[in-house]
Amino acid sequence: MGKSGTPRDRRLYFEQAALPHLDALYSAALRLVRNPDDAKDLLQETVLRAYRCFHQFTPGTNCRAWLLTILYNIFRTAYRRGAREHVGLTSEEFEHEIEAQSLADRGSSDPERLVMERSAMRLIERALNALPEEFRETLLLVDLHELNYQQASDALDIPLGTVKSRVSRGRALMRSALEKLAVVPGKTGT
């Protein structure tokens, strides 16, 4: 179906292929624009553009990667200027931020809060949120959304080699942050 079906077949096929990825797209949109209203608009615009361009999608390829590429394209052209000005720690600032959080945890007298803050999910969230944006975006595409390097390169519109170096550097920063925040790889499971 897909390319050769009737418009109704095409819509059915599109819905079956694309709509299972709505939560992934919305999560990515929220991280990019950082407020729910803009994220909803970005999501809707992405889905509609994907539907109009569905003839360009190759059946059998990764639909989520294709949709994320469209989402990032729209974000770069229509949303980025307003959304990005307040974010973006450098690697050095990231190290300081994690160090400060770690010290605050150690100085905390509230054991309940400490347990919560040291759950694996919360630690990953804290480390990811503090991570410099270019590393966070790349790691989330590769690790959370399971895109390969070429697909991440297409989505972010950056060279393949840059994806490779960002993944490497991003994971190193995450590993360091998780150690400081007391998740020792291999000893999680909280």
Partner: protein, 317 residues
Amino acid sequence: MNCRVYIREFLSAHADGELSGRERTAADDHLRGCARCQASFAEEHRVKTLIRAETPLTRVPADVRLRIRAALGEVADVALNGHRTDPRRAGSFPARRAMRAIRWIEARPLRVALPFAALASMILLIALGVGRFGTRDSVPNVPATPVFDLATASFDGLARGFTPNVAAESARRGDGAYYAWVVDRDSNGGRSDESADLGRAYHEAGVPEEIYDFTSAGYGLYGGRIDESVDGRPMTYTLYRGEKGEILSICMHAPGFAAPVGARYWAGTHTFFEYKDRSLCLTFSPAGHFVSILVAQEPVADLLRDVTLADASSSAS
């Protein structure tokens, strides 16, 4: 290759399966002789897995889902009828558009001459065994089959990036959303409590409980999803993972669907096809015009064996 080069140039790409053949061979050779880099490799995998497992996706609010479906309806209408409305405003009429989609599904003519009842009778006649529909050369090719296209596209889209959305407790909230089901990724499968809960959740959603026990075939239950199909009815996706890859089970309401020609094997109520480089197992549910389709990358003969084993395991339990 020394440790410095391995860590700086190869580690992440090695963990991500992104090295070329020669690079991978060199990296594997280095790892075999270096305990320190083996530990770094394990840590790299651990961070990758933690990010995947501990970063939850945010569910799209129900009203936004409706708005998007309605907007898609508007775009489709433009293609069909030539009249244009603003898709951004289309969310105010979701119910009308949902009804239109249902009418369309119900009005679809039978695409294949062999009706469901005749097929079911035929399957019942041969239900006690396993057989092959001729040799590969004598079996006609499977014609283009939209339901199979949906199944293979779903497999390609979901098999690796699967996010379960069904609660083990099968609780549905007032807003229609299901609680996230935290998958036991270390589960070795089997007829666990999770599979029983998943089956119950499907049942409560009005979809047949199509849960297989592929443990003996080397696949574990990974998780399930309940989504809405285009006719507004619930449909389910169940993913099984193992060393050989994935098997995705899709169960959907398909009242006008009949099996296409070109089946390779039959086993009980299952019919097996090769379709677009995938192996498919088609099963008609006895009630409610539901079909279940298993999609796998493994050869169709292997899928036949795995399903037969799963059925045997289910009968024995």
